[in-house]
Symmetry: C2
Subunit: 456 residues, 2 copies
Amino acid sequence: MTTTKFLLDESRMPRHWYNIAADLPVALPPPLHPGTMQPVGPDDLAPLFPMELILQEVSTEREVPIPEPVREVFKLWRPAPLFRAHRLEKALGTPAKIYYKYEGVSPAGSHKPNTAIPQAWYNAQAGIRKLTTETGAGQWGSSLAFAGALFDLDVKIFQVRVSYDQKPYRRALMETYGATCVASPSNETNSGRAILAERPDHPGSLGIAISEAVEVAATHDDTKYALGSVLNHVLLHQTIVGQEAMLQMEMAGDDPDVIVGCTGGGSNFAGIVFPFLGQQLRGGGKTKKRRIVAVEPAACPSLTRGKYAYDFGDTSHLTPLVKMHTLGSTFTPPGFHAGGLRYHGMAPLVSHLKQLDLIEATAYTQNECFAAGVLFGRTEGIVPAPEANHAVKGAIVEALRCKAEGRSEVILFNLCGHGHFDMAAYSNFHAGKLVDQQYDEKELAMALAGLPSVPA
Amino acid sequence: MTTTKFLLDESRMPRHWYNIAADLPVALPPPLHPGTMQPVGPDDLAPLFPMELILQEVSTEREVPIPEPVREVFKLWRPAPLFRAHRLEKALGTPAKIYYKYEGVSPAGSHKPNTAIPQAWYNAQAGIRKLTTETGAGQWGSSLAFAGALFDLDVKIFQVRVSYDQKPYRRALMETYGATCVASPSNETNSGRAILAERPDHPGSLGIAISEAVEVAATHDDTKYALGSVLNHVLLHQTIVGQEAMLQMEMAGDDPDVIVGCTGGGSNFAGIVFPFLGQQLRGGGKTKKRRIVAVEPAACPSLTRGKYAYDFGDTSHLTPLVKMHTLGSTFTPPGFHAGGLRYHGMAPLVSHLKQLDLIEATAYTQNECFAAGVLFGRTEGIVPAPEANHAVKGAIVEALRCKAEGRSEVILFNLCGHGHFDMAAYSNFHAGKLVDQQYDEKELAMALAGLPSVPA
């Protein structure tokens, strides 16, 4: 059986990120200040982010240059390979062609360093010496820790307590890179203390950890905050994935009919999708119409079951309000293994595109997704991260549809990370102990009923 | 800071393995039959291995072709990158140039698939449907499981019980690839039952697990055995590492003065070293003389403290005797984290080269090695496997010597795997809980006194 791998020469690694804001048919609704409910300006964000990142957040320029020092670090693992999944196609007996972009080649094992490196660099350029952030299972935290090590920044990471206690291995990775991990909720912030006062054994959540990290940055002049997904500039940084994939699909002589990505906050999905979608938006009727499919966990289905509304990004309501598909900021997803997809909201850009019917969304349970990941590992050799298993599942569903319809479509998906840190979850899956926990419908209804009211 | 990565085009991936037996100044002492103490012939090995691998084991041809189907699978991750460690050099303040070949890019995260894939392929070609092997922490077992999945072989892995119980994550990886893991000593073999009868809670050892895997293969016609290191054909398969590195060093315009590798059974060391050493052996005085340094754990120091003598490869004495540096087949190394280096013996070829003074050997404790690995992770971004930390430590020692001597030597080392499965060990290191266990001198003396007597 042939292996077909498409590698770009380093000289062809993109020099610009692609900003989909330049090509949107309808402008993105602005973020609102949590006090005034008025659109936030760059100055409102200045306590949290360096100005270069704020300008990227609001930019409508189509191309944003990637700084040379950032590209130099990217060369440690980029350009990332794109593969044709011949062995998976054969196992499925599908006439479809399946391609995957593999982002697990980074030192942190996922796509997250694509934004961690530029965020650390822009902060270092602005004279910042300390960063705070939050992390769940630790993919984002370990990526920012890696970036901090390379640009000599102190990184403090509020890690959701249940992960801090139960998954010490990614914490060890963060510490190996020199970062400090704190279990959240913690006693280091007002947000954390308030929650611990109510419930000393609180297991934590991403929303709470965001509140803590934001509070520390907002109250310390020498400290800024970094977020691993959701925001426009984070999605912008991930577009290098799709830009490379476009060049690699050209090498392959194929053009995707369907593009699949998993969605938690939306960044790896945006990374692979936006450059292709932008081409279509600019081309009008002249460009091939591609289906774009977001795959989310059935236990945290913001795009498929959430409400498109203004909501807070965190639990303590310190962040601006953004318009997004949300399950409500008080919603706590059940404890499934794809920690990177356990977030109540969704990137405003991804939500906006869903609202404009430019993308589709679907949801699968974790057992279906792990079964897909195991098949992928046994055929293609790479064992995917639990998050990436959702994209694998989505691609397999499309390939089997092609088989049923006798169509030879071209399917492209983003394999956003390897599963080497997540073998405990595979262990449970093999032992038949992986439960498809469902969220509580009443809790969801309450969380949605509690969405903030925003003047029209 | 610049990143310098040397990538070979797929078209330049080697088509032959390099066999150092063709260039040895003195022939390798033959393996002996455990019953007759006479040199073993190919037929003696036929119950364990397919004939193609046996012929490779005894071949003196300089070039052995790599089968095309094996090269196709290698393309999933090969050619593997070679990096200049600019950031590490800067942190050390050394005038030396440090290069590293990175083998952690394989789906199993280490160099082991370089031999697992051809071993599985040759067995499949010979009509074999079942393989047995042993594994400690699981790097080798997961690699053979991966290879078995691609060539549709049932793989049964005897995993040292202490690892089976304490490190379930690599076991999960083996099971994800469809292999079966059995804790060793087990009740499935005479070797295992004999040991359990004496001590029901025996923690196991690689020597015992080898006995069990060999016994199953020897007593089942449809089953063969596969070994992940030590044997000539295994080292042969790893030479693709050094052959690629030679081409990449040419691209870099540098020629190594010192080559460093870690040694357990000897396969990753041989892989990077043999092609360079062969060039030197063939060139006589005309070729640059390079220093070649094997780095082993101070707690299992076969090359630096063992005896060069005929010994068994396993505990139950089912294997042929080979002449090697050995601590005695009854020696049990203390439980340090570099599981891949916990073996009483050493590859006969590596031992022979040491005996001929063609290579040097040195030993470091695990805390020194982890400290080196942490520095490497913080500067170069890749967190090494505990085994690879020994090579990192060796390279750093050479670089600091260059600094002290004011010499700008070229150092090359093999970074044979990433540490993503080994973060528990890093966790202990960060917590100051990593103990430098020393072996028992009395036990070593007894094990050495008990070496088999072999007629001269």
